[in-house]
Symmetry: C2
Subunit: 261 residues, 2 copies
Amino acid sequence: MASQPLTFLFLLLVTTSVLESSASFEPNIRLPTTATSVPRSNIDDDLYCASWQLAVETNNAGSWAAIPSRCVPFVRAYMTGQRYASDCEVVANYSLAYASTVQIASDGKDAWVFDVDETLLTNLPYYRDHGFGSEIFNESCWDEWVAEAKAPAIPSSLKLYNGLKQMGFKIFVLTGRSEHQRNDTRKNLELAGYTGWEGLILRGASDGGTPATIFKSERRSVLVNEGYRIHGNSGDQWSDLLGFAVAKRSFKLPNPMYYIA
Amino acid sequence: MASQPLTFLFLLLVTTSVLESSASFEPNIRLPTTATSVPRSNIDDDLYCASWQLAVETNNAGSWAAIPSRCVPFVRAYMTGQRYASDCEVVANYSLAYASTVQIASDGKDAWVFDVDETLLTNLPYYRDHGFGSEIFNESCWDEWVAEAKAPAIPSSLKLYNGLKQMGFKIFVLTGRSEHQRNDTRKNLELAGYTGWEGLILRGASDGGTPATIFKSERRSVLVNEGYRIHGNSGDQWSDLLGFAVAKRSFKLPNPMYYIA
C-alpha cells in the first residue's frame, strides 16, 4: 500500500494546518495530567478488572495512581499466569513482522528504541514482594532492587531484540532510570542477555523533574537530529511512546501494575 | 496538576523542533498503512485470541483485514457476552469523569466528537448475521442495514452523550458514513435516543478515497478553526482519534470485529 504518499500527505496537511493554527502543534492523544476518579461499578470484580485493564492499556484510564484494591488479585493472576507472557509474545511478534517490512539502508541509521523496565526486563520478582503495584512506591527499596541487577529478561522481548539486531537495526535503550544507575542497568541488561546496543540513555541530573513523555521525546529528537530513522519504539508506558519525534510504529507492552506520567 | 503549563511546554518544544526538523511534523503513533502477517502461535486459542484482541485495541496489530479464523468463536463470545458491555461502560465512566473536570465556558465552544458505528450505535444485529466481521465486507448488504435505521444505542454511550449535553458540551457526530445516508443515519440516531447534536458530519462526494484518519482530522480542523475546543473524542477506531486537530483526551471504544484505516 501507499506508505510514502500517505506519510507525505500527512506531512503536507500537518504543515498546512501548522501554518494556520497553533492548535495543530498539540501532540496526538495527549497524556492526561490530572488523575480522574471513577465511580465504583457494580459489575463483578473479574469482569470489572478486565475492563479496567483494557482501559489502562488503551490509555482510556488516563493518569492513575494505584491498582483499584478490588483488582489486586486480578493483576496478581494476570502477571503470574500465562496471559502476561502471551500478551508480550503477541506484541513482539507484531513488532518483528513490521520490522521485517522495513528496508534497512547501508548508512546504519535505521533505529529501534526500547524502554527498560517491563519492556526489556521484568521486575516481577520485585513487584511480587510489593503487592503487584498496589503498595506506595518506595524509592529506597526500588533502588536496592536495581542495584542487585537481577531483573530477568522478558523472553519475547529478548527474541525481538536479537531479531532486530540481526536485521541491522541500531538499538537505543532509553530509560527513565537515573544516570547514577548506569552501571547497574548495564550489568543487569547484559546478565539478562541484552548486548550490542548503540546507546544506553538514562535521565541526567538536569532531567530531574521533566515528565517522562518530554524527557523521552527530547532524547528521540536528538537521535532524529543525528540522522536516525526511528522505525519502531517499544515501551510499557504511553509516556514511552507519545509526544514528539515519535517512531513510525509504536508498540505498547502490557503493564497493569503502575503508571508513569 | 499543571495541565496548562504542560500543554504550553509541549507547544514550545514541538514548535522548536518543528523549526529544526520536518520529522517533527509527523503524527504520533502513526497508523500503519500495510498489513503485516504474523506467524501463527502455538498458545491455545482462547489465550492467543485474548492477546490478539489486546494487540488490536492498543493498535499494536496495526492494519488488519479480518479476525483470525481461530478467533471467530472468541469474538462471538466477547460481543454477545457481558465483556463488551462492561468494556464500553468502563470507557464511558472514564469519559464522564474526565468531562466533569472540564470548565465549560459561556461561549458555547466546548465540544465533544463522537463516531457513530460501534461508538454511539451498535451494529451487533448486523454482524451477528455476518460472522462477527469474519465475512468479507458486503457493501450492498451493509447499505440495506443502514437504510433500516434500526441499530440500537450502546447503552453506556447514550448515558455519556446525555451526560455531556447536560454539562453543556456541544456534540459533533463525525462518521465515515456517506452523505447520501444522512437521513437514515439521523433517523437511526434519533430512534436510538440521540438528539440535540450541534452537527452531523458525513463523508461528502469529494471525500471518497480519503483515508479515515485524514477525513476525520480535516473535519476536526474545521471545528477548531471555528473556535471549538475539542475536549473529548470517542471512537472505536484509531482512525477516529489520531492524525491532527486531535482532542485533548481520546477514548477508544472496543471493536474486535473490523479495522478501518
